[in-house]
Symmetry: C2
Subunit: 258 residues, 2 copies
């Protein structure tokens, strides 16, 4: 079976290593600048811990580099010249970060939000793959399918757009929930009350284009309610009042261009 | 069994009338300025259509006024002096809109997003109730429980805050999905790819406070990625670039105050 090593032992590495190990891949070595984290993951998947990138064996099939975006270039420098297939897992970093330093390279980007606080089943998580050779693309495709994920072959430009879209659909969406939580909390209303609404909001777009199921004061052009809401926000959360205005204007603009 | 009449035959009236009729409530009369809509709903629930508010019989238990917020006051004028219990279904209009015109009044506000495009099961939908008498509050509570909803007794101030929170948690959240849709579409990437991420984002806050599971460039203070994203947006969607900046700043501020 294929042998895989990891550089990085954060959320993405952990989820991938465990999933791949379960379907029969051998997790060979793990390197992380934080030895403790590498050891914790290595123990879970029966891998060796190494103390530096130089110590990584070359007789493996794939080396997965899953580190913060700004560290990828440093890592590539440390492993340059190695002759394994090397992929990073970032949404926003071009595949070309490997060019001229590594012979066989690519990207394996799982489109999901990984939190330490929460177990994650990779089943149904889409993966965007890219490689500089069609042979390696095939190997990445097999690896993705082995852990039951949907595979999309996309270039770096498309992947960057997905990453940006994901910031809106996930990170900014979660912030909307944080704002709702804060507003309710300020009046001693349990957050529970709004959870069915959040669930339905996410469920609605399974079968509908989001612009087609937009509801609320902005889409109805209900200026009276918009002003009421901005007045409430101005009292205790003036920053949120500006945000409310901008979001409402944006909904109105999207509706015009629909 | 209790008899209920409706003023208004939009999404909320339709969902409530059908649900109440299923559990044995008699839907007596329906008035809507759009006769066709009133007739369509009346046919579904075996009710009479009336041509004006004056024709509404007084020997009913509850009259549910479910019309656009800005029309509630007009409706109250038309029915003033009637001696049934009268409730509106709005999140943002105070209960006092009935004061001095109707003797027994209240609010029955289901906290959910209703789209014509989508069937809705009221099961699990929270309802906020309020009334000027404790006897009528009890009747509203019974009615809510009969259609399996969770009941919250909240005053008008609290309800306004919930409505505002719901705009963030639902309307603005859906707009985040619309933006993601537009970005993906511009690069011929199917919206499907991002649906599991959206689902997980909503699922995550079932057991966690949203501020505790915030992910993305802003919370990591990843200025490099934030700038990359704003550059992409500036090329084709400058309005969204400003929105991206404001949302990122807001995430950073929330994190400081956590």
């Amino acid at each position: 079976m294929k042998r895989i090593s990891f550089i990085g032992s954060g959320n993405v590495s952990t989820h991938l290593a465990i999933a791949l190990s379960k379907v029969g891949y051998t997790i060979h070595q793990i390197y992380s600048p934080t030895y403790k984290h590498a050891l914790s993951l290595a123990t879970k998947v029966g891998a060796q811990v190494v103390n530096s990138c130089e110590e990584l064996d070359e007789d493996i099939d794939i080396c997965i580099v899953s580190v913060p975006d700004h560290s990828i270039e440093n890592v590539v420098e440390l492993i340059q010249g190695k002759n394994f297939l090397c992929v990073h897992t970032s949404g926003s970093v071009s595949m070309d970060v490997f060019k001229n330093r590594i012979l066989k390279y690519g990207v394996f980007y799982p489109l999901q939000t990984f939190s330490k606080a929460r177990e994650m089943d990779l089943y149904n998580v889409p993966v965007c793959i890219e490689s500089n050779t069609s042979e390696d693309k095939l190997m990445l495709q097999e690896m993705a399918q082995a852990i039951h994920t949907k595979v999309y072959q996309l270039d770096s430009e498309q992947r960057k757009e997905i990453h940006l879209a994901a910031v809106f659909a996930c990170n900014f969406t979660n912030h909307m929930f944080s704002i709702a939580h804060r507003l309710l909390d300020s009046k001693d209303i349990p957050f529970e009350i709004i959870k069915p609404l959040i669930q339905e909001t996410a469920d609605k777009i399974r079968d509908h284009r989001p612009v087609d199921v937009q509801t609320g004061p902005a889409i109805r052009n209900d200026i009276q309610t918009i002003h009421k809401h901005m007045n409430i926000l101005n009292q205790n959360n003036p920053d949120l009042s500006l945000l409310y205005k901008l979001l409402s204007d944006s909904i109105i603009n999207f509706n015009k261009e629909k």
